[in-house]
Amino acid sequence: MKLDIRNLHVSVGGTEILKGLSLEVGTGEVHAIMGPNGSGKSTLAHILAGRSGYEVTSGTVTYNGENLLEMEPEQRAWAGIFLGFQYPIEIPGVNNSYFLKAALNAKRKYLQQPEIDAIQFLKLVKEKARLMKMDQSFLNRGVNEGFSGGEKKRNEIFQMSVLEPTLAVLDETDSGLDIDALKTVAEGVNRLRSDDRAFLLITHYQRLLDYIQPDFVHVLADGRIVRTGGRELALDLEAQGYDWVTTGT
């Protein structure tokens, strides 16, 4: 797995949000992207997943050497990109496990693997749900329908654990979580850390990084990565605030 973002400029409705962002993510790595509100963190997540409504004015994004920006969202999913949504969407009436099975089989079909059968699938999701400390009844509820904020986030990580992506982009997965939920979510992520998978953790607070230790921390400010460092950078940020990096003092 190799993600390579070079000098990326992105506008929304004529306003430039990303202003020359460059980032390389290699397999097995965990990168944290931190930054103040409005710095372009979620835009970056959406661009990687292929959400419409953004205009890439210059720069490139390649994923395993391929032009990611030309791929449809579902193609990116099949190629192993997973986006953990900041605000997971409700799909009323669509059974959670039915949804996930369809998603998994779409990916397997693309990879020319046989579809997973109902029994195997049930076994798989029950195990994953248990690890995420999710009640079995979750599986039969509508996708995110009537879930609390914490349940929705847990459901995202649960979906990730079933879909086994090679690049997981987690957009503010920690926001709105109490400490127990945060631990469960962090455990879920840590369990999935492996040499053939990379993570991009987008977060406002360093709290998440107490539980998921990143290899790299990047500070995104005004559409650009203004500083890159190790784990200690997050602690400095916490202590000194974003002004410390954005004003360059």
């Binding site: 969202p73 579902e74 949504f85």
Partner: protein
């Protein structure tokens, strides 16, 4: 990535699958309506005098009234003199005695429609009556049903075999004076299905009728009458298709259901008449009056409809909750695409004490379609402790279609509780993106979202019909929105 428009057009581009024409010689009356036409129809069907007289009274009344104009529907005026009021496949005039006598081409037609007319029917446990243009061509499992005393036959046969039941019940739920289209139907109806479930009998299989309009320039005016005697139970399904034609064709049916004490009728419809093309050319004008009279205490009727076809749908399956503790239910999914228009809903008339009704309506609009829910909940002074719950949800695909809700409530008894909930939503970019991010194609995502939206209604349908309905919805909306 701005693919929204294109995708809407893809949905719209999905072709109607039942648009073939069967080449069969037919006895068709020239277009036009007058008393002679009515006498001809009645004579052709060897009807008793009471029926002819009823038809003539209906016709005379019809001539004095005008088409209703309160629905939110727009169409060119219908020329009632340009419609043929009788068309029968020629051979059927000699009345086939069994399936073996039926023109193989007709059977082929039903095959294409996927109707289990032969052995498959028995496997599926469904008894089928098939109405082709104006004539009923075959009723399967008649003898098996007869063992339990159930009568399930073409309407015209019931007129011959059981005239006393027809005379007793016909027009007692939907009188010919009810409305313009009911009056027209009463004058010129040609066939339909008749069901009689005797006291205490639980009908041993699902009963089913398939309607098909084949001839050009014909109208289809079928009449269905179902009588469920005390303590009986029946589940009845109807399906409808028509070939693709450029001109509009009129379909004005009347369905009357009578539920006596403790009886239960479940009536399910999958309506897939030809909806017209992308420009709104052709398609069926579907003006239908359906009503159940819950005459006895503790009786129950449940209407479930999936309305996917027709250029225009005007349809309000209703319940007269006359018996104490009687229950009326209405579950509806209506899909309109391209230039289709639908004005549909229900009427729940609470007369008896402790009567209860539930209305779940799901409307889906795409293309430039317009759809209205129109429902009346009326609580009479006699209806102590009546309850109604209405939920009416609309889903819009794209930004050129419309959804409208016209709920009417008349509550004349202070002990009543009437609830109404309504929502309108768009298939959001958010929902689609979420599904696609997880690896579902746009098309699968739309199907999944729409089917989820309709779930409460689909689960009311008998199993095989639910599968058919889901597939029909997917076809009607293939391609989706961005």
């Amino acid at each position: 990535m701005a693919t929204e428009q294109k995708n809407i057009e893809q949905i719209v581009g999905e072709k109607y699958r039942h648009g073939f024409v069967t080449d069969i010689e037919a006895d068709t009356l020239p277009p036009g309506i007058n008393e002679d036409v009515i006498r001809f129809i009645s004579d052709k069907k060897k009807e008793p005098e009471f029926l002819l007289n009823w038809r003539l009274k209906s016709f005379r009344h019809w001539q004095t009234i005008r088409e209703p104009d309160w629905a939110k529907l727009h169409h060119a005026p219908i020329d009632y003199q340009d419609i043929s009021y009788f068309s029968a496949p020629k051979q059927a005039a000699d009345a086939p005695k069994s399936l073996d006598d039926v023109d193989p081409k007709l059977l082929e037609t039903y095959d294409k429609l996927g109707i289990p007319l032969h052995e498959r029917a028995r496997l599926a446990g469904v008894a089928v009556d098939a109405v082709f243009d104006s004539v009923s061509v075959a009723t399967t499992f008649k003898s098996k049903l007869a063992e339990s005393g159930v009568i399930f036959c073409p309407f015209s046969e019931a007129v011959q075999e059981h005239p006393e039941l027809i005379e007793q019940y016909l027009g007692t739920v939907v009188p010919y004076r009810d409305n313009f289209f009911a009056a027209l139907n009463s004058a010129v109806f040609t066939d339909g299905s008749f069901v009689f479930i005797p006291k205490g009998v639980r009908c041993p299989m699902e009963l089913s009728t398939y309607f098909r309009i084949n001839e050009a320039k014909t109208g289809q005016f079928e009449r269905t009458l179902i009588i469920a005697e005390e303590g009986s139970h029946v589940s009845y399904l109807e399906g409808c298709t028509a070939p693709m034609r450029d001109e509009n064709q009129l379909h004005a049916a009347v369905v009357e259901l009578v539920a006596l004490k403790d009886a239960e009728i479940k009536y399910s419809t999958v309506q897939n008449w030809y909806p017209g093309d992308e420009q709104g050319r052709g398609g069926i004008y579907n003006f239908v009056t359906k009503r159940c009279d819950c005459r006895g205490a503790n009786s129950k009727v449940s209407w479930t409809q999936v309305e996917a076809g027709s250029a225009i749908t005007w349809k309000y399956p209703s319940c007269i909750l006359r018996g104490d503790n009687s229950v009326g239910e209405f579950y509806s999914v209506a899909v309109t695409n391209n230039l289709q228009q639908a004005d549909t809903g229900t009427k729940m008339l609470h007369i008896g004490a402790n009567t209860r009704s539930t209305v779940i309506s799901k409307g889906i609009s795409a293309g430039r379609a317009q759809q209205s829910y129109r429902g009346l909940i009326k609580i009479f002074p006699t209806a102590e402790n009546a309850r109604n719950y209405t939920q009416c949800d609309s889903l819009l695909l794209g930004d050129q279609c419309g959804a409208h809700t016209f709920p009417y409530m008349e509550v004349k008894n202070p002990s009543a509780i009437v609830e109404h909930e309504a929502t309108t939503s768009k298939i959001g970019d958010d929902q689609l993106f979420y599904c696609r991010q997880r690896g579902l194609s746009e098309e699968d995502a739309v199907n999944m979202i729409v089917n989820g939206f309709c779930k409460e209604v689909f689960r009311e349908l008998p199993m095989e019909f639910a599968v058919e309905a889901q597939a029909l919805l997917n076809v009607s909306l293939e391609g989706a929105v961005g």
